[in-house]
Symmetry: C2
Amino acid sequence: MIGKLNHVGVATPSIENSVAMYRDLLGATRIHEKFAMPDQGVWVCFVDLPNSQIELIEPYDDKSPIKNFLAKNPQGGQHHICFEVKDIIAARDEMIAKGATVLGTGEPRIGAHGVPIIFLHPKNTGGVLVELMQEPAHGH
Amino acid sequence: MIGKLNHVGVATPSIENSVAMYRDLLGATRIHEKFAMPDQGVWVCFVDLPNSQIELIEPYDDKSPIKNFLAKNPQGGQHHICFEVKDIIAARDEMIAKGATVLGTGEPRIGAHGVPIIFLHPKNTGGVLVELMQEPAHGH
């Protein structure tokens, strides 16, 4: 079922500092502008790689769902892995049928790429927070 | 400098259980045989995705460098991210010149893909353990 590794989600206390690190230390050359996703409680910034992306996420406010993660990992760290699927509804139904827990209401919401996403509970996926994302129509 | 996201390293207490999860829950279809890297203290198993890989790593013995990680994350979790570079020696020298800490002796060692690798200290890379790996001659 899973297709491409769309991105690795990396939580950071400062997108500005992380962008500087990816640009100046690691030499990434395609880094997008950051943008707010207030409903998800995060600022988001994509670092493009030739075959995938790093998704930098920073808390938008005190209710941010990544605040706890950063309390435990003050420097930041790997937060989730996102795999593409052809049909998010079919994928969601298959995950539930197989006994996995879909986070939130279970209804897909629109993610940072503008396509519907769900998250699986890490207890079902070896301690890794897994995002499933409907394939974008035109790649990244 | 960094090229492709070669793989995401995922630590697990049981490659067998993780393989079953990637195969039976997530529907991954290309999963390699596990193999031992006693010098690195890990068992390794690659899960292929169309554009990248998940590298499952399980402790080989009690001296395994991932034992502490699993003590803190008993279910497993995201352990490192690996980016390809064209020339590992040039990359290593550039990292040191820019003030980053290369783990171990600083000399590249041969990684699970048979090409030289180094690891950067997470304090330099936003809390993420970053592996740099010389581009394989023929892709995966």
